[in-house]
C-alpha cells in the first residue's frame, strides 16, 4: 500500500521489551494527524525515546503495529526512512566534518546531489543560524550549535514527518524559542507532522496541539493541553501559615472549600477547590482564615498544569518521577527541576498576602 498522502502516525499495541528487562513500552496506542504537533511527555525512563526509536526504525518492535506516513515500521523500514526526519536525544555528528559537509553528506545519502544539495545546505544553515560556523569543524561547536545542526540534518530531504527527541535539552532560552518557532512553521506552512518528546511541561504546553503523557511504558493521558488540564478541574490554593499551631488548624478551615492535598511548598497547606458554582474565591478563603483567627504569611492560587495532570494520573510529580537528568538542561529550562514550578507560579499565581 502506498499512502503518500498520509503524513500521520498510527500506533496500535506497540510493545518493546529488551532482553532481561521489563517492558520499556507496554502496549501503547496513539494517532497523530497529518500536520499535527504531538507532544510526548514523560519523565526520563518512561519509554519516550524507545517509542521514537521504534517509530524511526532504529529499534525493532517486540509486538504491535505502527505506521508512519502510511508505511509499516516493521516491514517497510526503507520507505519510512525516506519519509521521516529525526533529531534524536544524543546529537549524531562527526566532529571532523564541518556543518556544511554534514549537510552535503546527508543530502547525498538521501539522493540529493550537486547544486540542489548546496542550495539546500545553505538554506538550512541560514534557518538554524549557523551560516558563520558553516565551514568550521563540528568538534569546535557548542552544545547548542550541535543541536541546531542536528535539526538541520533531520530536515535536509524535506521530510513529511519529523521526530524530535527532547530537541531543546541544553539549548539557551533564545535558541529554544527559535526552535519552537521553526517547528511551528514547519507544521503550519509545510504541513509536516511533528512528533516531539519532551520532559519540559512548558514546551509541550506551548507547542503541542495534542499531548500524550507516558509513564512506565504506558500512556496515562492524552488530549489537548487544555483538555487535560480541564480534566483536573479546579485550581489549587496553597497557604503558608505564620506558626505551627496555625498550620495544625488550617486544614479544618480549608476543608470547607475542597479536598486538602500535600502542598508542593514546604510548610504550606493546600486545598484543591471544588469546581462549579460554589467554587470559592481567594477573598472568601482569606476571610474564612481570618474568621478562624489564623495568621498566614502567603497564599497562592495555582491553575492546573500538565504536572498536575501527571500527578493526578500517576500519583507522582513529573519533576521527581525520572532521574535527575531533567536538571541538565540550560539554567531555567522549562520544566527542569524547580523551574517548572516557577513557570507555573509566574503565570498563574496570585500572591495576596
Amino acid at each position: 500500500m502506498t499512502t503518500s498522502e498520509n503524513n500521520g502516525i498510527e500506533v496500535r499495541g506497540l510493545v518493546k521489551q529488551f532482553k532481561k528487562g521489563p517492558k520499556a513500552v507496554d502496549g501503547i496506542d496513539l494517532d497523530v494527524a497529518p500536520g499535527e504537533i504531538y507532544g510526548f511527555l514523560g519523565p526520563n525512563g518512561a519509554g519516550k525515546s524507545t517509542t521514537v526509536n521504534m517509530l524511526v526504525t532504529l529499534l525493532p518492535i517486540t509486538a504491535g503495529r505502527a505506521t508512519v506516513a502510511g508505511w509499516d515500521v516493521a516491514t517497510q523500514g526503507a520507505d519510512v526512512r525516506k519519509a521521516i526526519g529525526a533529531a534524536l536525544q544524543a546529537v549524531a555528528l562527526d566532529n571532523f566534518l564541518t556543518g556544511r559537509e554534514h549537510l552535503r553528506l546527508i543530502a547525498s545519502l538521501q539522493g540529493i546531489t550537486g547544486s540542489r544539495a548546496d542550495a539546500r545546505a545553505t538554506d538550512l544553515l541560514h534557518r538554524v543560524g549557523l551560516e558563520e560556523a558553516a565551514d568550521r569543524k563540528v568538534g569546535g561547536y557548542s552544545g547548542g550549535m550541535k543541536r541546531r545542526l542536528d535539526l538541520a540534518l533531520a530536515l535536509v530531504h524535506e521530510p513529511r514527518v519529523l521526530f524530535l527527541d527532547e530537541p531543546t535539552t541544553g539549548l539557551d532560552p533564545q535558541s529554544r524559542t527559535a526552535l519552537w518557532e521553526e517547528v511551528r512553521r514547519l507544521a503550519r506552512e509545510d504541513g509536516v507532522t511533528v512528533f516531539l518528546t519532551t520532559q519540559y511541561l512548558e514546551e509541550a504546553d506551548v507547542l503541542a496541539d495534542r499531548v500524550g503523557i507516558i509513564d512506565r511504558g504506558v500512556i496515562v493521558a492524552e488530549g489537548t493541553p487544555a483538555e487535560l488540564k480541564a480534566e483536573i478541574g479546579a485550581p489549587t490554593v496553597e497557604v503558608v501559615p505564620t506558626s505551627d499551631s496555625d498550620r495544625a488548624a488550617l486544614p479544618a478551615v480549608l476543608a470547607q472549600f475542597g479536598e486538602c492535598l500535600a502542598a508542593a511548598q514546604p510548610g504550606a497547606v493546600a486545598v484543591r477547590l471544588r469546581g462549579g458554582s460554589d467554587r470559592a474565591s481567594l477573598v472568601t478563603i482569606v476571610r474564612a482564615i481570618d474568621d478562624g483567627g489564623l495568621k498566614i504569611d502567603e497564599i497562592r492560587q495555582h491553575e492546573p498544569t500538565l504536572d498536575d495532570v501527571f500527578l493526578a494520573k500517576t500519583g507522582r510529580s513529573l519533576e521527581g518521577a525520572g532521574d535527575d537528568e531533567a536538571t541538565e538542561g540550560a539554567p531555567g529550562a522549562p520544566g527542569s527541576g524547580s523551574a517548572s514550578a516557577a513557570t507555573a507560579d509566574d503565570r498563574d499565581a496570585e500572591p495576596v498576602a
Binding site: 532504529l58 555528528l93 559537509e101
Partner: protein, 257 residues
Amino acid sequence: MSTTFRAARAIAWRHLYKWISVPANFMPTFIFPLIFFTGFAGALGRVGEIPGFDYPANYTTWIFVFSLLQTCLFGGLATGFTIAGDFQSGFARRLMLAVADRNAILYGYMLSTFLRAALMSGIVTGVAFIAGLEMLGSVGEIVGMYLLSLSLSLIGTMWAAGVMFRARDPQLGPAMQIPMFIAIFLAPVYVPLALLSGWLHAVARVNPVSHIMGAGRGLLVGQPDDIGLALVSVAVLFALLAVWAITGVRSAERAGG
C-alpha cells in the same frame, strides 16, 4: 544510479575525506605497510640464499607480495575502527537513519577501503621499486596480482565490519585484528612453503591466504601457479564474509544503532 549506490558513494566519500584530512587516521595506514616492507626487504635479503629457496626474482620481490596483501588486509581492519568509532560517537545512528538500504553503509566502506588500498598499493610499489623490485610478469599477470591482493581489502573490510557492526566498540579492536594477523602470518611469509616445517607447514598448506600469496608471487614473476586455487580461496572467503558482514549490519539494526 540506484539509491543504494548513491548512498554507498556518499559513505565512501566521507571515509576517504576523513582519512586524508585527519593525520591520525592517515599516518598509520600509510606508514605501517611501508615500515613492514622496508624492514623485511632490507633486513632479510640473505634469506633468499637459503638452499631450496627457489624464486626467480630477488627477496625484495618475494616480500613485496606479502607487503601488498598485508597493506590491503590491514586497510580493511582500519576501516573496522572507523565503523566502531561511528557507533561510539553516535554518528552511525545518523547514517542508519539517513539511508534507505542500510547495506549501503557496508558497501560504502568496502568501496572506500578498496580505493584506499589501491592508492596504498601504488605507494608501496613505488617504494619497492626504489628497493629493487623486479616485475617479470606480463601486464595481464601484474594486473591479476594487484586484483588478487586488492580482493583482500574487501575481505578484510567485510571481516572487520562484521565484527564491529556487532561489537560497536573500538576497544574490541584486538579481537578483530588478531585473527587476521594470524591468518596472514600463518602463510609462507618469509620463505616458500616447502621450506616451512612442522605445525607451521601443516597450517600454511591449508591456509587460503597462502594460496592467494602464492598465486600473487607467481603472477609477479610471470610463472602463474595455482591460480584456480587462489580464486576459489578468494570466492569462498568473499562469500562467507559477505554473510558475516551483512548479518553484522542486521545485528546493528536490531541493537538500534
